[in-house]
Protein backbone atom coordinates (compact mmCIF):
# COMPACT_ATOMS: atom_id res chain seq x y z
CA UNK A 1 0.00 0.00 0.00
CA UNK A 2 2.84 2.35 0.92
CA UNK A 3 4.57 1.68 -2.43
CA UNK A 4 1.41 2.46 -4.39
CA UNK A 5 0.70 5.65 -2.47
CA UNK A 6 4.33 6.73 -2.94
CA UNK A 7 3.85 6.02 -6.64
CA UNK A 8 0.81 8.29 -6.75
CA UNK A 9 2.69 10.99 -4.84
CA UNK A 10 5.69 10.87 -7.18
CA UNK A 11 3.37 10.91 -10.20
CA UNK A 12 1.61 14.03 -8.94
CA UNK A 13 4.93 15.78 -8.34
CA UNK A 14 6.19 14.89 -11.81
CA UNK A 15 2.97 16.14 -13.41
CA UNK A 16 3.07 19.35 -11.40
CA UNK A 17 6.63 19.97 -12.53
CA UNK A 18 5.48 19.82 -16.13
CA UNK A 19 6.37 16.29 -17.21
CA UNK A 20 4.03 15.04 -19.94
CA UNK A 21 1.25 13.08 -18.24
CA UNK A 22 1.53 9.98 -20.46
CA UNK A 23 5.30 9.68 -20.13
CA UNK A 24 5.23 10.36 -16.38
CA UNK A 25 2.58 7.71 -15.62
CA UNK A 26 4.38 5.17 -17.79
CA UNK A 27 7.70 5.84 -16.08
CA UNK A 28 6.35 5.73 -12.52
CA UNK A 29 4.44 2.54 -13.35
CA UNK A 30 7.57 0.99 -14.79
CA UNK A 31 9.83 1.94 -11.88
CA UNK A 32 7.19 0.89 -9.34
CA UNK A 33 6.77 -2.48 -11.04
CA UNK A 34 10.57 -2.88 -11.14
CA UNK A 35 10.72 -2.05 -7.43
CA UNK A 36 8.40 -4.97 -6.72
CA UNK A 37 9.61 -7.48 -9.31
CA UNK A 38 12.89 -6.33 -10.82
CA UNK A 39 13.76 -4.46 -14.01
CA UNK A 40 13.62 -7.22 -16.56
CA UNK A 41 10.00 -8.28 -15.86
CA UNK A 42 9.00 -4.63 -15.56
CA UNK A 43 10.42 -3.75 -18.97
CA UNK A 44 8.84 -6.70 -20.74
CA UNK A 45 5.53 -5.99 -18.98
CA UNK A 46 5.63 -2.42 -20.35
CA UNK A 47 6.37 -3.57 -23.90
CA UNK A 48 3.71 -6.26 -23.77
CA UNK A 49 1.13 -3.89 -22.25
CA UNK A 50 1.70 -1.18 -24.84
CA UNK A 51 1.50 -3.66 -27.70
CA UNK A 52 -1.68 -5.25 -26.29
CA UNK A 53 -3.40 -1.89 -25.87
CA UNK A 54 -2.27 -0.63 -29.27
CA UNK A 55 -3.93 -3.68 -30.82
CA UNK A 56 -7.06 -3.79 -28.62
CA UNK A 57 -10.08 -4.08 -30.90
CA UNK A 58 -12.30 -2.30 -28.37
CA UNK A 59 -10.03 0.74 -28.42
CA UNK A 60 -10.34 1.16 -32.19
CA UNK A 61 -13.64 2.88 -31.47
CA UNK A 62 -11.64 5.90 -30.26
CA UNK A 63 -9.91 7.02 -33.50
CA UNK A 64 -13.05 6.39 -35.54
CA UNK A 65 -15.31 8.45 -33.29
CA UNK A 66 -12.67 11.16 -33.19
CA UNK A 67 -12.66 11.07 -37.00
CA UNK A 68 -16.46 11.32 -37.06
CA UNK A 69 -16.15 14.39 -34.83
CA UNK A 70 -13.51 15.98 -37.05
CA UNK A 71 -15.69 15.46 -40.13
CA UNK A 72 -18.76 16.93 -38.42
CA UNK A 73 -16.66 19.86 -37.28
CA UNK A 74 -15.51 20.41 -40.85
CA UNK A 75 -19.09 20.08 -42.14
CA UNK A 76 -19.65 23.54 -40.68
CA UNK A 77 -22.96 22.48 -39.19
CA UNK A 78 -22.82 24.51 -35.97
CA UNK A 79 -24.63 27.59 -37.31
CA UNK A 80 -27.48 25.54 -38.71
CA UNK A 81 -27.83 23.67 -35.43
CA UNK A 82 -28.02 26.97 -33.66
CA UNK A 83 -30.61 28.47 -36.03
CA UNK A 84 -32.72 25.29 -35.91
CA UNK A 85 -32.71 25.36 -32.10
CA UNK A 86 -33.51 29.06 -32.16
CA UNK A 87 -36.51 28.53 -34.40
CA UNK A 88 -38.02 26.40 -31.63
CA UNK A 89 -36.83 28.23 -28.51
CA UNK A 90 -36.04 31.78 -29.59
CA UNK A 91 -39.36 33.29 -28.65
CA UNK A 92 -38.92 32.51 -24.95
CA UNK A 93 -37.13 34.73 -22.50
CA UNK A 94 -33.45 33.78 -22.64
CA UNK A 95 -34.22 32.15 -26.00
CA UNK A 96 -30.75 32.62 -27.44
CA UNK A 97 -29.17 30.95 -24.41
CA UNK A 98 -31.71 28.12 -24.50
CA UNK A 99 -30.90 27.60 -28.19
CA UNK A 100 -27.20 27.61 -27.32
CA UNK A 101 -27.74 24.77 -24.82
CA UNK A 102 -29.54 22.64 -27.41
CA UNK A 103 -27.08 23.43 -30.20
CA UNK A 104 -24.14 22.68 -27.87
CA UNK A 105 -25.72 19.36 -26.89
CA UNK A 106 -26.20 18.39 -30.53
CA UNK A 107 -22.79 19.52 -31.66
CA UNK A 108 -20.85 18.04 -28.75
CA UNK A 109 -22.74 14.76 -29.04
CA UNK A 110 -21.60 14.19 -32.61
CA UNK A 111 -18.25 15.96 -32.42
CA UNK A 112 -17.35 14.23 -29.15
CA UNK A 113 -15.14 17.13 -28.12
CA UNK A 114 -16.14 19.60 -25.44
CA UNK A 115 -13.25 21.88 -26.34
CA UNK A 116 -14.21 21.99 -30.04
CA UNK A 117 -17.84 22.62 -29.05
CA UNK A 118 -16.99 25.47 -26.70
CA UNK A 119 -14.67 27.07 -29.27
CA UNK A 120 -17.11 26.71 -32.17
CA UNK A 121 -20.20 27.78 -30.30
CA UNK A 122 -18.42 30.81 -28.89
CA UNK A 123 -17.93 32.01 -32.48
CA UNK A 124 -21.48 31.10 -33.49
CA UNK A 125 -23.60 32.02 -30.47
CA UNK A 126 -21.69 34.81 -28.75
CA UNK A 127 -22.22 37.54 -31.41
CA UNK A 128 -26.07 37.25 -31.52
CA UNK A 129 -26.25 37.14 -27.71
CA UNK A 130 -24.15 40.29 -27.54
CA UNK A 131 -26.39 41.93 -30.15
CA UNK A 132 -29.41 41.34 -27.94
CA UNK A 133 -27.51 42.64 -24.93
CA UNK A 134 -27.32 39.37 -23.04
CA UNK A 135 -25.08 39.56 -20.02
CA UNK A 136 -21.67 38.15 -20.89
CA UNK A 137 -21.78 35.92 -17.84
CA UNK A 138 -24.95 34.18 -19.05
CA UNK A 139 -23.83 33.82 -22.67
CA UNK A 140 -20.25 32.70 -22.00
CA UNK A 141 -21.32 30.53 -19.07
CA UNK A 142 -23.92 28.78 -21.21
CA UNK A 143 -21.40 28.03 -23.95
CA UNK A 144 -18.69 26.81 -21.55
CA UNK A 145 -21.15 24.54 -19.74
CA UNK A 146 -23.01 23.49 -22.91
CA UNK A 147 -19.76 22.17 -24.37
CA UNK A 148 -19.53 19.59 -21.60
CA UNK A 149 -22.87 17.99 -22.49
CA UNK A 150 -21.31 15.72 -25.12
CA UNK A 151 -19.21 13.90 -22.53
CA UNK A 152 -22.32 12.13 -21.34
CA UNK A 153 -24.25 11.97 -24.59
CA UNK A 154 -22.86 9.04 -26.58
CA UNK A 155 -20.67 8.40 -28.47
CA UNK A 156 -18.30 9.53 -25.77
CA UNK A 157 -14.58 8.83 -25.43
CA UNK A 158 -14.59 8.98 -21.60
CA UNK A 159 -17.27 6.28 -21.55
CA UNK A 160 -15.10 4.13 -23.84
CA UNK A 161 -12.13 4.61 -21.51
CA UNK A 162 -14.25 3.67 -18.51
CA UNK A 163 -15.52 0.60 -20.37
CA UNK A 164 -11.95 -0.53 -21.10
CA UNK A 165 -10.65 0.02 -17.57
CA UNK A 166 -13.69 -1.44 -15.80
CA UNK A 167 -14.15 -4.21 -18.38
CA UNK A 168 -17.71 -3.19 -19.13
CA UNK A 169 -19.70 -3.44 -22.37
CA UNK A 170 -19.07 -0.17 -24.22
CA UNK A 171 -22.36 -0.44 -26.10
CA UNK A 172 -24.28 -0.68 -22.83
CA UNK A 173 -22.37 2.27 -21.41
CA UNK A 174 -23.27 4.37 -24.45
CA UNK A 175 -26.93 3.51 -24.10
CA UNK A 176 -26.72 4.17 -20.35
CA UNK A 177 -25.54 7.71 -21.12
CA UNK A 178 -28.63 8.59 -23.15
CA UNK A 179 -31.13 9.37 -20.36
CA UNK A 180 -28.62 11.16 -18.10
CA UNK A 181 -27.57 13.15 -21.18
CA UNK A 182 -31.16 14.19 -21.87
CA UNK A 183 -31.64 14.93 -18.16
CA UNK A 184 -28.59 17.21 -18.23
CA UNK A 185 -29.88 19.08 -21.28
CA UNK A 186 -33.21 19.58 -19.46
CA UNK A 187 -31.49 20.79 -16.31
CA UNK A 188 -29.25 23.17 -18.27
CA UNK A 189 -32.34 24.62 -19.98
CA UNK A 190 -33.92 24.99 -16.53
CA UNK A 191 -30.74 26.69 -15.28
CA UNK A 192 -31.03 29.30 -18.05
CA UNK A 193 -34.75 29.75 -17.29
CA UNK A 194 -34.00 30.36 -13.62
CA UNK A 195 -31.25 32.89 -14.37
CA UNK A 196 -33.45 34.94 -16.73
CA UNK A 197 -36.36 34.77 -14.32
CA UNK A 198 -34.23 36.17 -11.50
CA UNK A 199 -32.69 38.79 -13.77
CA UNK A 200 -34.82 39.35 -16.91
CA UNK A 201 -32.25 41.78 -18.32
CA UNK A 202 -29.64 38.97 -18.45
CA UNK A 203 -31.35 37.36 -21.46
CA UNK A 204 -34.26 39.10 -23.22
CA UNK A 205 -36.47 37.20 -25.66
CA UNK A 206 -35.36 37.20 -29.28
CA UNK A 207 -37.21 38.17 -32.43
CA UNK A 208 -39.09 35.51 -34.39
CA UNK A 209 -37.04 34.02 -37.16
CA UNK A 210 -37.56 34.34 -40.87
CA UNK A 211 -39.60 31.22 -41.76
CA UNK A 212 -37.52 30.22 -44.77
CA UNK A 213 -34.30 30.52 -42.84
CA UNK A 214 -35.72 28.38 -40.02
CA UNK A 215 -36.95 25.74 -42.44
CA UNK A 216 -33.60 25.67 -44.26
CA UNK A 217 -31.70 25.24 -40.99
CA UNK A 218 -34.02 22.51 -39.76
CA UNK A 219 -33.64 20.63 -43.01
CA UNK A 220 -29.85 20.95 -42.75
CA UNK A 221 -29.66 19.39 -39.29
CA UNK A 222 -31.82 16.38 -40.09
CA UNK A 223 -28.96 14.32 -41.55
CA UNK A 224 -26.87 14.93 -38.41
CA UNK A 225 -29.72 13.85 -36.17
CA UNK A 226 -30.32 10.86 -38.44
CA UNK A 227 -26.66 9.83 -38.23
CA UNK A 228 -26.71 10.14 -34.45
CA UNK A 229 -29.81 7.95 -34.22
CA UNK A 230 -28.36 5.43 -36.67
CA UNK A 231 -25.14 5.07 -34.66
CA UNK A 232 -26.92 4.78 -31.31
CA UNK A 233 -29.82 2.73 -32.63
CA UNK A 234 -27.38 0.29 -34.22
CA UNK A 235 -25.55 -0.15 -30.93
CA UNK A 236 -28.80 -0.42 -28.98
CA UNK A 237 -30.24 -3.05 -31.29
CA UNK A 238 -26.87 -4.87 -31.32
CA UNK A 239 -26.92 -4.51 -35.10
CA UNK A 240 -23.27 -3.51 -34.90
CA UNK A 241 -20.49 -3.27 -32.34
CA UNK A 242 -19.43 0.17 -31.08
CA UNK A 243 -16.37 -0.01 -33.35
CA UNK A 244 -18.53 -0.74 -36.38
CA UNK A 245 -20.91 2.01 -35.31
CA UNK A 246 -17.97 4.41 -35.18
CA UNK A 247 -16.87 3.41 -38.67
CA UNK A 248 -20.38 3.97 -39.99
CA UNK A 249 -20.59 7.24 -38.06
CA UNK A 250 -17.34 8.44 -39.64
CA UNK A 251 -18.45 7.54 -43.17
CA UNK A 252 -21.84 9.20 -42.54
CA UNK A 253 -20.18 12.32 -41.17
CA UNK A 254 -17.90 12.47 -44.20
CA UNK A 255 -20.96 12.19 -46.47
CA UNK A 256 -22.67 15.05 -44.60
CA UNK A 257 -19.55 17.21 -44.87
CA UNK A 258 -19.25 16.38 -48.58
CA UNK A 259 -22.89 17.23 -49.26
CA UNK A 260 -22.32 20.61 -47.64
CA UNK A 261 -19.42 21.42 -49.95
CA UNK A 262 -16.55 20.27 -47.75
CA UNK A 263 -14.05 17.40 -48.07
CA UNK A 264 -14.00 17.95 -51.81
CA UNK A 265 -10.20 17.89 -52.18
CA UNK A 266 -7.46 15.47 -51.23
CA UNK A 267 -5.86 18.17 -49.10
CA UNK A 268 -9.02 18.56 -47.02
CA UNK A 269 -9.25 14.81 -46.50
CA UNK A 270 -5.63 14.64 -45.52
CA UNK A 271 -5.97 17.52 -43.06
CA UNK A 272 -9.02 15.93 -41.40
CA UNK A 273 -7.44 12.48 -41.17
CA UNK A 274 -4.17 13.88 -39.81
CA UNK A 275 -6.03 15.92 -37.21
CA UNK A 276 -7.85 12.80 -36.03
CA UNK A 277 -4.60 10.80 -36.00
CA UNK A 278 -2.85 13.41 -33.88
CA UNK A 279 -5.68 13.49 -31.33
CA UNK A 280 -5.67 9.68 -31.27
CA UNK A 281 -1.94 9.48 -30.60
CA UNK A 282 -2.17 12.12 -27.87
CA UNK A 283 -4.86 10.11 -26.11
CA UNK A 284 -3.18 6.75 -26.53
CA UNK A 285 0.11 7.83 -24.97
CA UNK A 286 -1.86 8.66 -21.83
CA UNK A 287 -3.75 5.36 -22.09
CA UNK A 288 -0.50 3.37 -22.44
CA UNK A 289 1.04 5.16 -19.48
CA UNK A 290 -2.00 4.72 -17.27
CA UNK A 291 -2.39 1.03 -18.05
CA UNK A 292 1.29 0.35 -17.28
CA UNK A 293 0.76 2.32 -14.07
CA UNK A 294 -2.34 0.22 -13.32
CA UNK A 295 -0.19 -2.93 -13.58
CA UNK A 296 2.08 -1.54 -10.88
CA UNK A 297 -0.89 -0.54 -8.71
CA UNK A 298 -2.37 -4.02 -9.02
CA UNK A 299 0.96 -5.63 -8.16
CA UNK A 300 1.36 -3.36 -5.14
CA UNK A 301 -1.80 -4.86 -3.69
CA UNK A 302 -3.44 -1.49 -3.04
CA UNK A 303 -6.76 -2.37 -4.71
CA UNK A 304 -7.02 -5.51 -2.56
CA UNK A 305 -6.00 -3.67 0.62
CA UNK A 306 -8.93 -1.38 -0.13
CA UNK A 307 -11.23 -4.39 -0.45
CA UNK A 308 -10.15 -5.40 3.08
CA UNK A 309 -10.74 -1.90 4.42
CA UNK A 310 -14.20 -1.81 2.84
CA UNK A 311 -14.90 -5.22 4.41
CA UNK A 312 -13.51 -4.33 7.84
CA UNK A 313 -15.50 -1.15 8.15
CA UNK A 314 -18.52 -2.68 6.44
CA UNK A 315 -18.84 0.15 3.96
CA UNK A 316 -21.89 -0.19 1.75
CA UNK A 317 -21.66 0.10 -2.03
CA UNK A 318 -23.33 3.50 -1.83
CA UNK A 319 -20.82 4.83 0.69
CA UNK A 320 -17.97 3.56 -1.43
CA UNK A 321 -19.35 5.27 -4.54
CA UNK A 322 -19.74 8.56 -2.62
CA UNK A 323 -16.14 8.24 -1.46
CA UNK A 324 -14.80 7.52 -4.96
CA UNK A 325 -16.90 10.34 -6.46
CA UNK A 326 -15.44 12.70 -3.85
CA UNK A 327 -11.89 11.73 -4.80
CA UNK A 328 -12.82 12.15 -8.46
CA UNK A 329 -14.00 15.69 -7.72
CA UNK A 330 -10.65 16.44 -6.05
CA UNK A 331 -8.75 14.89 -8.98
CA UNK A 332 -10.86 16.99 -11.34
CA UNK A 333 -8.99 19.99 -10.01
CA UNK A 334 -5.76 18.60 -11.47
CA UNK A 335 -6.48 16.10 -14.24
CA UNK A 336 -8.98 16.11 -17.05
CA UNK A 337 -11.56 13.37 -17.51
CA UNK A 338 -9.42 10.73 -19.23
CA UNK A 339 -6.68 11.01 -16.61
CA UNK A 340 -9.14 10.67 -13.74
CA UNK A 341 -10.81 7.61 -15.21
CA UNK A 342 -7.53 5.88 -16.01
CA UNK A 343 -5.86 6.53 -12.68
CA UNK A 344 -8.78 6.27 -10.28
CA UNK A 345 -10.97 3.46 -11.55
CA UNK A 346 -8.36 0.61 -11.46
CA UNK A 347 -7.60 1.34 -7.81
CA UNK A 348 -11.18 0.91 -6.67
CA UNK A 349 -12.28 -1.71 -9.18
CA UNK A 350 -11.98 -4.78 -6.90
CA UNK A 351 -13.70 -3.05 -3.96
CA UNK A 352 -16.51 -1.82 -6.21
CA UNK A 353 -16.98 -5.35 -7.52
CA UNK A 354 -16.83 -6.76 -3.98
CA UNK A 355 -19.47 -4.27 -2.85
CA UNK A 356 -21.71 -5.35 -5.75
CA UNK A 357 -21.86 -1.87 -7.24
CA UNK A 358 -23.57 -1.75 -10.65
CA UNK A 359 -20.59 -0.74 -12.78
CA UNK A 360 -22.66 0.79 -15.58
CA UNK A 361 -24.31 3.11 -13.04
CA UNK A 362 -20.96 3.84 -11.43
CA UNK A 363 -19.46 4.68 -14.83
CA UNK A 364 -22.16 7.26 -15.46
CA UNK A 365 -21.60 8.78 -12.00
CA UNK A 366 -17.84 9.06 -12.48
CA UNK A 367 -18.19 10.52 -15.96
CA UNK A 368 -20.71 13.08 -14.61
CA UNK A 369 -18.17 14.09 -12.00
CA UNK A 370 -15.37 14.48 -14.53
CA UNK A 371 -17.71 16.61 -16.63
CA UNK A 372 -18.02 18.96 -13.69
CA UNK A 373 -14.23 19.40 -13.61
CA UNK A 374 -14.36 21.04 -17.06
CA UNK A 375 -16.17 24.11 -15.74
CA UNK A 376 -15.00 24.32 -12.11
CA UNK A 377 -11.85 26.14 -10.99
CA UNK A 378 -8.88 25.90 -10.95
CA UNK A 379 -8.71 24.17 -14.35
CA UNK A 380 -12.20 24.56 -15.82
CA UNK A 381 -10.80 23.98 -19.29
CA UNK A 382 -13.97 24.99 -21.16
CA UNK A 383 -14.03 28.35 -19.40
CA UNK A 384 -10.57 29.07 -20.72
CA UNK A 385 -11.50 27.88 -24.21
CA UNK A 386 -14.39 30.38 -24.38
CA UNK A 387 -12.07 33.07 -23.06
CA UNK A 388 -9.37 32.27 -25.62
CA UNK A 389 -11.85 32.71 -28.48
CA UNK A 390 -13.31 35.92 -27.02
CA UNK A 391 -10.49 37.48 -24.98
CA UNK A 392 -12.54 40.57 -24.05
CA UNK A 393 -14.81 38.54 -21.74
CA UNK A 394 -13.68 38.69 -18.13
CA UNK A 395 -12.73 35.29 -16.72
CA UNK A 396 -14.64 36.09 -13.54
CA UNK A 397 -17.80 36.69 -15.58
CA UNK A 398 -17.57 33.26 -17.20
CA UNK A 399 -16.95 31.52 -13.89
CA UNK A 400 -19.94 33.39 -12.43
CA UNK A 401 -21.98 32.40 -15.48
CA UNK A 402 -21.24 28.68 -15.13
CA UNK A 403 -22.30 28.61 -11.47
CA UNK A 404 -25.95 27.89 -12.27
CA UNK A 405 -24.84 25.06 -14.56
CA UNK A 406 -22.59 23.62 -11.86
CA UNK A 407 -25.71 23.51 -9.68
CA UNK A 408 -27.55 21.77 -12.54
CA UNK A 409 -24.69 19.25 -12.84
CA UNK A 410 -24.87 18.58 -9.11
CA UNK A 411 -28.64 18.09 -9.29
CA UNK A 412 -28.11 15.58 -12.11
CA UNK A 413 -25.47 13.82 -10.05
CA UNK A 414 -27.77 13.54 -7.04
CA UNK A 415 -30.68 12.37 -9.22
CA UNK A 416 -28.64 9.66 -10.96
CA UNK A 417 -27.28 8.69 -7.57
CA UNK A 418 -30.69 8.39 -5.93
CA UNK A 419 -32.45 6.92 -8.96
CA UNK A 420 -29.91 4.57 -10.59
CA UNK A 421 -32.57 3.55 -13.13
CA UNK A 422 -31.88 6.80 -14.99
CA UNK A 423 -28.62 5.17 -16.02
CA UNK A 424 -29.49 1.49 -15.87
CA UNK A 425 -33.01 1.35 -17.34
CA UNK A 426 -32.13 1.47 -21.05
CA UNK A 427 -29.08 -0.84 -20.92
CA UNK A 428 -31.16 -3.35 -18.93
CA UNK A 429 -33.50 -3.58 -21.91
CA UNK A 430 -30.51 -4.53 -24.09
CA UNK A 431 -29.33 -7.41 -21.90
Amino acid sequence: MITALTGFGVLLLLCFFGFRVGFATLFVGLVGFAFERGWSPALSMAGQQIMDDAMAYNLSVIPLFILMGVFIYRADISRDLYVAAYSALGRFRGGLALSTVVACAGFSAVSGSSVATAATMTRVAMPPMRKYKYHDSLSAGTIAAGGTLGIMIPPSVPLVIFGIVAEQDIGQLFIAGVLPGILLVGLFLAAVAVVVRLDPKAGPAGEPLDKDEARRARRAVWPVLGLFLLVLGGIYGRVFTPTEASGIGAVGAAAIAFSRGHLRSLAEWRAALVEATRTTATLFIVIFGALVFAQFINLSGLPYDLVDIVDDYEFSGTELVIFVAFIAILMGMIFESIGILLLLVPVFLPSLFAANVDMIWFGIIVVLVTELGLITPPIGMNVFVVRSVMPDIKLGHIFRGVTSFIVADLVALVLVFLIPAIATFLPALMR
Binding site: L14, R20, F27, S246, G247, T277, T280, I379
Partner: protein, 169 residues
Protein backbone atom coordinates in the same frame (compact mmCIF):
# COMPACT_ATOMS: atom_id res chain seq x y z
CA UNK B 1 22.67 20.03 -36.64
CA UNK B 2 19.76 22.45 -36.93
CA UNK B 3 20.06 22.64 -40.68
CA UNK B 4 19.97 18.85 -40.92
CA UNK B 5 16.87 18.77 -38.73
CA UNK B 6 15.28 21.50 -40.81
CA UNK B 7 15.87 19.50 -43.96
CA UNK B 8 14.92 16.08 -42.61
CA UNK B 9 12.07 16.57 -40.14
CA UNK B 10 9.44 18.08 -42.46
CA UNK B 11 10.03 15.22 -44.89
CA UNK B 12 9.64 12.57 -42.22
CA UNK B 13 6.49 14.25 -40.95
CA UNK B 14 5.02 14.68 -44.40
CA UNK B 15 5.50 10.98 -45.17
CA UNK B 16 4.10 9.96 -41.79
CA UNK B 17 1.11 12.29 -42.15
CA UNK B 18 0.23 10.65 -45.46
CA UNK B 19 0.94 7.19 -44.03
CA UNK B 20 -1.24 7.54 -40.94
CA UNK B 21 -3.97 9.35 -42.89
CA UNK B 22 -4.16 6.39 -45.27
CA UNK B 23 -4.22 3.92 -42.37
CA UNK B 24 -7.03 5.73 -40.59
CA UNK B 25 -8.96 5.98 -43.84
CA UNK B 26 -8.51 2.24 -44.35
CA UNK B 27 -9.75 1.60 -40.83
CA UNK B 28 -12.88 3.59 -41.50
CA UNK B 29 -13.45 2.02 -44.91
CA UNK B 30 -12.82 -1.49 -43.60
CA UNK B 31 -15.35 -1.27 -40.75
CA UNK B 32 -17.90 0.26 -43.09
CA UNK B 33 -17.45 -2.26 -45.88
CA UNK B 34 -17.42 -5.13 -43.39
CA UNK B 35 -20.80 -4.13 -41.93
CA UNK B 36 -22.33 -3.49 -45.35
CA UNK B 37 -20.89 -6.80 -46.57
CA UNK B 38 -22.35 -8.64 -43.61
CA UNK B 39 -25.87 -7.24 -43.77
CA UNK B 40 -26.37 -6.50 -47.44
CA UNK B 41 -24.36 -9.25 -49.13
CA UNK B 42 -24.04 -11.66 -46.18
CA UNK B 43 -20.35 -11.66 -46.97
CA UNK B 44 -18.29 -10.06 -44.19
CA UNK B 45 -14.59 -9.50 -44.75
CA UNK B 46 -12.59 -12.39 -43.31
CA UNK B 47 -10.42 -11.23 -40.40
CA UNK B 48 -11.67 -7.62 -40.56
CA UNK B 49 -11.50 -7.22 -36.77
CA UNK B 50 -7.89 -8.35 -36.71
CA UNK B 51 -6.95 -6.07 -39.59
CA UNK B 52 -8.52 -3.18 -37.69
CA UNK B 53 -6.39 -4.07 -34.68
CA UNK B 54 -3.21 -3.86 -36.78
CA UNK B 55 -4.33 -0.63 -38.40
CA UNK B 56 -5.02 0.83 -34.96
CA UNK B 57 -1.52 0.05 -33.68
CA UNK B 58 0.11 1.50 -36.79
CA UNK B 59 -2.09 4.60 -36.80
CA UNK B 60 -1.22 5.34 -33.17
CA UNK B 61 2.52 5.05 -33.70
CA UNK B 62 2.38 6.90 -37.01
CA UNK B 63 0.57 9.72 -35.22
CA UNK B 64 3.00 9.60 -32.32
CA UNK B 65 5.80 11.00 -34.50
CA UNK B 66 3.60 13.97 -35.38
CA UNK B 67 2.82 14.86 -31.78
CA UNK B 68 6.33 14.06 -30.56
CA UNK B 69 7.85 16.44 -33.09
CA UNK B 70 5.71 19.31 -31.86
CA UNK B 71 5.53 18.08 -28.24
CA UNK B 72 1.73 18.23 -28.23
CA UNK B 73 1.39 15.93 -25.25
CA UNK B 74 -1.14 16.37 -22.47
CA UNK B 75 0.18 18.18 -19.41
CA UNK B 76 -1.09 19.35 -16.04
CA UNK B 77 -0.81 23.10 -16.22
CA UNK B 78 -1.60 24.06 -12.65
CA UNK B 79 1.89 24.53 -11.27
CA UNK B 80 4.07 24.30 -14.38
CA UNK B 81 4.22 28.10 -14.84
CA UNK B 82 5.52 28.45 -11.29
CA UNK B 83 8.50 26.18 -12.03
CA UNK B 84 9.06 27.77 -15.42
CA UNK B 85 9.32 31.17 -13.82
CA UNK B 86 11.86 30.05 -11.26
CA UNK B 87 14.04 27.80 -13.41
CA UNK B 88 13.23 28.98 -16.93
CA UNK B 89 16.21 27.26 -18.58
CA UNK B 90 16.43 24.12 -16.48
CA UNK B 91 12.73 23.17 -16.42
CA UNK B 92 12.36 22.59 -20.18
CA UNK B 93 15.66 20.69 -20.34
CA UNK B 94 14.58 18.35 -17.54
CA UNK B 95 11.07 17.88 -18.97
CA UNK B 96 12.23 17.26 -22.54
CA UNK B 97 15.09 15.04 -21.41
CA UNK B 98 12.62 12.96 -19.46
CA UNK B 99 10.24 12.66 -22.44
CA UNK B 100 13.10 11.52 -24.67
CA UNK B 101 14.22 8.98 -22.08
CA UNK B 102 10.74 7.44 -21.72
CA UNK B 103 10.31 7.42 -25.50
CA UNK B 104 13.64 5.55 -25.74
CA UNK B 105 12.35 2.92 -23.31
CA UNK B 106 9.14 2.54 -25.36
CA UNK B 107 11.04 2.17 -28.65
CA UNK B 108 13.52 -0.25 -27.08
CA UNK B 109 10.84 -2.48 -25.58
CA UNK B 110 8.72 -2.53 -28.72
CA UNK B 111 11.82 -3.51 -30.69
CA UNK B 112 12.47 -6.29 -28.16
CA UNK B 113 8.87 -7.40 -28.58
CA UNK B 114 9.27 -7.53 -32.37
CA UNK B 115 12.55 -9.48 -32.09
CA UNK B 116 10.89 -12.01 -29.79
CA UNK B 117 7.92 -12.34 -32.14
CA UNK B 118 10.44 -13.10 -34.90
CA UNK B 119 12.43 -15.60 -32.84
CA UNK B 120 9.38 -17.46 -31.60
CA UNK B 121 7.84 -17.23 -35.03
CA UNK B 122 4.38 -16.39 -33.68
CA UNK B 123 1.42 -15.85 -35.96
CA UNK B 124 -1.75 -13.79 -35.54
CA UNK B 125 -4.81 -15.72 -34.41
CA UNK B 126 -7.31 -15.29 -37.23
CA UNK B 127 -5.41 -14.30 -40.34
CA UNK B 128 -2.31 -16.28 -39.37
CA UNK B 129 -0.03 -13.51 -40.52
CA UNK B 130 3.48 -13.48 -39.00
CA UNK B 131 3.20 -11.27 -35.89
CA UNK B 132 6.65 -9.88 -36.58
CA UNK B 133 5.29 -7.89 -39.54
CA UNK B 134 2.93 -5.88 -37.34
CA UNK B 135 5.22 -5.79 -34.31
CA UNK B 136 8.18 -4.83 -36.50
CA UNK B 137 6.26 -2.01 -38.19
CA UNK B 138 5.09 -0.68 -34.83
CA UNK B 139 8.64 -0.91 -33.44
CA UNK B 140 10.00 0.88 -36.52
CA UNK B 141 7.39 3.62 -36.18
CA UNK B 142 8.25 4.05 -32.49
CA UNK B 143 11.92 4.49 -33.39
CA UNK B 144 10.93 7.09 -36.00
CA UNK B 145 8.79 8.80 -33.31
CA UNK B 146 11.87 9.02 -31.13
CA UNK B 147 13.91 10.50 -33.97
CA UNK B 148 11.11 12.97 -34.76
CA UNK B 149 11.00 13.95 -31.10
CA UNK B 150 14.76 14.62 -30.97
CA UNK B 151 14.74 16.48 -34.30
CA UNK B 152 11.79 18.54 -33.07
CA UNK B 153 13.83 19.54 -30.05
CA UNK B 154 16.90 20.34 -32.15
CA UNK B 155 14.81 22.40 -34.52
CA UNK B 156 13.35 24.43 -31.75
CA UNK B 157 17.00 25.24 -30.90
CA UNK B 158 16.74 26.59 -27.46
CA UNK B 159 14.94 24.04 -25.27
CA UNK B 160 13.12 26.96 -23.68
CA UNK B 161 11.33 27.54 -26.97
CA UNK B 162 10.41 23.90 -27.40
CA UNK B 163 8.52 23.86 -24.14
CA UNK B 164 5.72 25.87 -25.71
CA UNK B 165 3.94 22.64 -26.30
CA UNK B 166 0.52 22.22 -27.84
CA UNK B 167 1.37 24.02 -31.08
CA UNK B 168 1.88 21.92 -34.17
CA UNK B 169 5.05 22.63 -36.12
Amino acid sequence: MQSIARAVLPRILSVLEAFSAILLFLMMALTFVDVIGRYVFTAPIFGAAEMIQFLLAMTIFGGLSLINASDSHITVEVFEPWFKKRIPRLQPIIVQGFSVMVMMIIAWQLTQFAIEAHEIGSFTVVLEWPLVVVAGTVAGLSVISLIAQILGLVLSGDPAVSSDHGEPL
